[in-house]
Every structure is written in structure tokens, then in C-alpha cells.
């Protein structure tokens, strides 16, 4: 068994949940694609927090390894995502998602 947790798992989970929801709200209420993307990063990090917390609770490394991979994925994702957003901006001079709706219906 690991050392007794000073911070209860539930607190950590609550925190991660709150951050996740804040990110989610960010996605829902913002129009700037970059900010939306940042909010998504918040959500991913919230998940990471949950992973780490669980890993701590379970005393297993799996969670931490997972987080590491998530970070790598996030890095690749950011590279591609930013490239896409920049490209959109180059063609349209905007990153406001509400101004980008050629495709609809």
C-alpha cells in the first residue's frame, strides 16, 4: 500500500470534474477557435488529473503512463490544430467559428 493520501481522492476528482466542465463551458460559449482549442486542452488536462489521481489511489503506474501518452497526443494535436486554424485564418481573415459556416443544412 502506498502512503496514506493526504488529499482525498474525491477532492481530486471533484477538482478534475470542475476543470473539465469549465473547459467544456469554454468550448460551448466561446467563438474564437483558438480559445475553444485552449478550452479543449483544459478538458484533456482535467482527464489527466483524474488519471493521475486514480493512479495514486490504485498505486499503479498505468495511469501515469497513460497521461504521458496523452500529452504526446496533445502535442501532435496542437500542431495540426493550430495549422488548420492558421490556414483558416489565412483564407478568411477570421477565427471566429460563427463566421465560418459555408457548410450547413
Amino acid at each position: 500500500m502506498s502512503a496514506p493520501m493526504a488529499v482525498p481522492l474525491s477532492w481530486m476528482l471533484a477538482l478534475s470534474g470542475v476543470v473539465f466542465v469549465i473547459g467544456l463551458i469554454g468550448v460551448l460559449v466561446r467563438r474564437n477557435a483558438l480559445v475553444i482549442f485552449m478550452s479543449i486542452e483544459l478538458m484533456l488536462n482535467a482527464a489527466n488529473l483524474a488519471f493521475v489521481a486514480f493512479a495514486r489511489q490504485l498505486d499503479s503506474l498505468d495511469g501515469q503512463v497513460f497521461v504521458f501518452f496523452v500529452m504526446t497526443v496533445a502535442a501532435a494535436e496542437v500542431a495540426i490544430g493550430l495549422a488548420i486554424i492558421v490556414n483558416v485564418f489565412r483564407l478568411r481573415e477570421t477565427v471566429y467559428v460563427d463566421e465560418i459556416n459555408l457548410l450547413k443544412g
Partner: protein, 483 residues
């Protein structure tokens, strides 16, 4: 003791072949070649063939790879072959399309191979980590492919929407995985099942919420209602061949992961999931079909149709058990084939600048270009589930499984939906045969590889409509590994 040169290498073959192919292609980009060079396509085709050959060589074997992170079983084999087939057909269809669209870059094929690898990883994974990684690999490659025509507004708009929403959904998926991990202490599917077996924790909220969020994430990939809304926009904006590829491959991969997760890791949870899945299946079919009714853009219409088809597969998933899983697999194979065929024809139809192909563009084509019109008609009928095409057999088997599982109301919703769907599939034939063209009829590309691709899909669509026995047996065998 020679563990290194074991059969594992054959089973790993697809991964090696595809990643090798992808890297080769990326390197090739540094060697200048003509604008109309076909080397990318050739390399891609070769790696796909190699991948398929490797997996076929050991298709009878079942074993775990990488200490159980992957599993090589009939299910993996089936889906690997399916993904290789989908990718190969896509390569054939893209062959001249990319030249016409002036996106003939080796990266295109490299990304295609990478995405295929991601799909294979998803179907072969026995661990949530690799499922996630496979999914991300596939998704990242697809984000780029969707936006591959950088200078077209639609293309990069589609890429942006797909990307933002995909990342958003990944967030859900990831959080779901975290909760599952927390609830079971592992990310490994079989151990998860072992942990849950006989445990009183089935109603553990962590578990349920984790499953729910994973469902959201995978539901997004397979375009199930209400996680479907990106589909039409992304499909419409993407280069047509990419649309065909992702509509077939990404959906099949999502379902492969879903099936494995549901059947291997969480079989005991099925009871509590059933009502949810029933609702989602019914909604998916209905929303997809009804929204497709009035579409005039062929690609968009097919996009909605693909949503509806996800619903049919979900019916099979709801049915559950051996038969349900086999029906889902069977349906996915048939759906991929006919949908690729349909998109292949749309790709052939596009004018140079890839104007959207509207239904009215098809007017009069039926007698101008009878072969093409015939093929499109068959694909439409097959998508609509009219015998004697493969689409009918697929639906029939799905509904059979559902009836067997006692889901008669859902089946009735399903069959009525196929009536609704027939309306818009018929609109295509109406345009083809019953309307006069307003001006010059749409030009048709005369790409031989693409024609080969379409003919292969057409032949199989018809053949499986008449005699689906072999495929059916394969589908049934494929799910035995999961049980």
C-alpha cells in the same frame, strides 16, 4: 527458444507494412516527381497488399501481442482485411482524383496509410490506451486529409470543424477512459472484464459514467445521433475520396472498438445499456434518414445516409450476442463497400474544380453514360436495402439478429426507416434517368484505377446480394474471438 522469429511477426505485419509504407512515402516527398506521378499510389497500394497478405497468412491464429495490449484473433483479421480493402479501394479512387484536384502529394497516401494503421490498431487493441492512441492516430490523419485541399474554403472549414469537435469528443472519451480506469483499476479490456465478473460494482457510478463518456467519444466517431452533427459538414467539405474513406473506415473502426469494448470488457453491463442504445439507434436511423430527404448535394446526402447506416449497425449492436455482433460486422463490410462505391462515383463525376455535385448535375446521365448510371443506381438501391443487392442482405441479417433478440419495435423502426431512406436514394435515380439535363451534362473522369475500384465494389455489392454466404460465415467466425 526463438520467440523473436515467431508467428507474431506475421501478425505484426500490417503494422510494420503500413508504418513502413507511410515513412517511405514521407521520404519520397523529398524526391521530386512529376505532377502526375503515380508512385505514391503505387507505394500505398503495395504496403496495403503486404499488410493484407501478412494478416491473411496467419488468419487462423489467435494470440496476444505485446503482452496483451493487442490481440490477433479472427476479429482483428476480419477488420484488418476490411480496412486494407477500404484503403486500397480509396487509393484506387484517389489515383486520378488527387491529380485532378492538384493535391497529388505523397503525404496524402502517407496519411491514408497512417489512418489505416490507426483503424487497425483500434480493432486489434485489447487495451484502452492503444484504443485511444489508434483513434487519435486515425483522427489526426483524417483531420489533415479532410483539410488537404488547403486553398478551398470548404475543405479547411470542414477540417476545422472536424478537428475542433473531434478534439472535444476526444476529451469526453479520455475522461471516460479515466473513469473506467478508476473504477476497475486497469485499462486492459480482459482484466477489466475479470475485475467486473461477479463483482457487485456493476452499478458503480464511476463505471457507468465512464462507459457513458466513452460512448460519447466513440459515438462521435461513428456519427451516432446526437453526436453526429459534424458529419455532413466534414463529409461535404473533404475531398470526395477522403469522404468515402472516412465514411467507411472511421465508422467501421469506431464500431470495431465499440464492439470489442462492449463484448470483451463490459459484457455484463449490456442490460443497463440496452435502453440507451435502443434510443440512440432509433434516433440515429431516423434523424439521418429524415434529414437526408431534402438534400440536393450528393455528398451531403450521402453523409446523412451514412449517419442512418450507423443506426442500422447500432441495431445489430443492440441485438447483442454472437449474432448481433456478427450482423454488425457483416453490415459494416457491406456498408463500406457500397458507400465507397457511391463516393467513388461522386469522385468520378466532379468537374475539375470539384464543384459540389448536385442532384441536378446527374440529370440525363442515365442514358449518356449508362454504365456509370447503372453502377450508381445499384449502389443507391443497395444503400436503400433493395434486393438483390448486398445492402439488402446486410439489413436482413441485422434485422434478423434484432428479431431474434426480441427487439421487434426497433426492427419496425428500422424497416420503416429504410422506406424513408428509399425516397432520397430514388431521387438519385430520378435525376439519372427521369430528368433532362439543363445544359451540358456533367463531365465524367475516365480514370482507369477508379473505374477498377468502382467495378470491384459493384461486383461485390451484387455478388454479396446474391450469395452472401462466404462473407456471412467470415463475419460469424470473426466475432467468435470476442466471446
Amino acid at each position: 527458444m526463438t520467440p523473436l522469429i515467431d508467428v507474431d511477426w506475421w501478425a505484426l505485419g500490417p503494422g510494420l507494412a503500413l508504418s513502413g509504407g507511410a515513412m517511405l512515402l514521407m521520404l519520397l516527398e523529398f524526391v521530386p516527381a512529376g505532377r502526375n506521378s503515380s508512385r505514391g499510389a503505387l507505394v500505398a497500394l503495395a504496403s496495403l497488399l503486404a499488410a493484407a497478405a501478412c494478416v491473411w497468412r496467419v488468419h487462423e491464429v489467435k494470440r496476444a501481442l505485446f503482452d496483451g495490449m493487442f490481440v490477433h484473433d479472427t476479429f482483428t483479421v476480419f477488420f484488418t482485411l476490411l480496412f486494407c480493402g477500404i484503403a486500397a479501394l480509396s487509393v484506387l479512387l484517389s489515383w486520378d482524383y488527387v491529380k485532378r484536384m492538384r493535391i497529388n502529394q505523397a503525404e496524402y497516401y502517407a496519411l491514408l496509410l497512417a489512418a489505416t494503421l490507426g483503424m487497425i490498431v483500434m480493432s486489434a487493441s485489447n487495451d484502452l490506451i492503444t484504443i485511444f492512441l489508434g483513434l487519435e492516430l486515425m483522427s489526426l490523419a483524417l483531420y489533415v486529409l479532410v483539410g488537404f485541399r488547403r486553398s478551398r474554403l470548404e475543405s479547411n472549414e470542414a477540417a476545422m470543424k472536424y478537428f475542433l469537435l473531434g478534439a472535444f469528443a476526444s476529451g469526453f472519451l479520455l475522461y471516460g477512459i479515466a473513469l473506467l480506469y478508476g473504477a476497475t483499476g486497469t485499462t486492459h479490456l480482459e482484466r477489466m472484464a475479470a475485475f467486473l465478473a461477479g463483482s457487485p460494482l456493476l452499478s458503480n457510478p464511476l463505471l457507468l459514467m465512464g462507459g457513458l463518456l466513452v460512448l460519447v467519444g466513440l459515438g462521435f466517431k461513428v456519427a451516432a445521433v446526437p453526436f453526429h452533427m459534424w458529419t455532413p459538414d466534414a463529409y461535404e467539405g473533404a475531398p470526395t475520396t477522403v469522404t468515402g474513406y472516412m465514411s467507411a473506415g472511421a465508422k467501421a473502426a469506431g464500431f470495431a472498438a465499440l464492439l470489442r469494448l462492449a463484448l470483451v470488457a463490459l459484457p455484463d453491463l449490456q442490460a443497463s445499456w440496452k435502453p440507451v442504445l435502443i434510443a440512440i439507434a432509433a434516433l440515429t436511423m431516423t434523424v439521418g434518414n429524415v434529414t437526408a430527404l431534402l438534400q440536393t448535394n450528393l455528398k451531403r446526402m450521402l453523409a446523412y445516409s451514412s449517419i442512418a447506416h450507423a443506426g442500422y449497425v447500432l441495431v445489430a449492436v443492440v441485438a447483442g450476442g454472437n449474432e448481433g455482433a456478427a450482423a454488425a460486422v457483416f453490415y459494416l463490410a457491406i456498408y463500406s463497400l457500397m458507400n465507397l462505391g457511391a463516393f467513388g462515383i461522386v469522385a468520378l463525376l466532379g468537374r475539375d474544380q470539384d464543384e459540389p455535385v448536385l442532384l441536378s448535375d446527374l440529370a440525363g446521365l442515365g442514358f449518356k453514360n449508362p454504365a456509370l448510371a447503372f453502377a450508381l443506381t445499384i449502389f443507391m438501391l443497395s444503400l436503400g436495402g433493395i434486393p438483390p443487392t448486398a445492402g439488402f442482405m446486410g439489413k436482413f441479417y441485422v434485422f434478423r439478429a434484432a428479431v431474434q433478440a426480441g427487439q421487434i419495435p426497433l426492427v419496425i423502426v428500422g424497416v420503416l426507416n429504410s422506406v424513408v431512406s428509399i425516397f432520397y436514394y430514388l431521387r438519385v435515380t430520378v435525376a439519372l434517368y427521369m430528368e433532362e439535363p439543363a445544359g451540358e451534362p456533367t463531365a465524367v473522369s475516365r480514370s482507369i484505377p477508379a473505374v477498377i475500384g468502382v467495378v470491384v465494389s459493384l461486383a461485390l455489392t451484387l455478388w454479396w446480394g446474391l450469395q452472401a454466404h462466404a462473407l456471412l460465415e467470415q463475419a460469424q467466425r470473426s466475432v467468435l474471438g470476442l466471446m
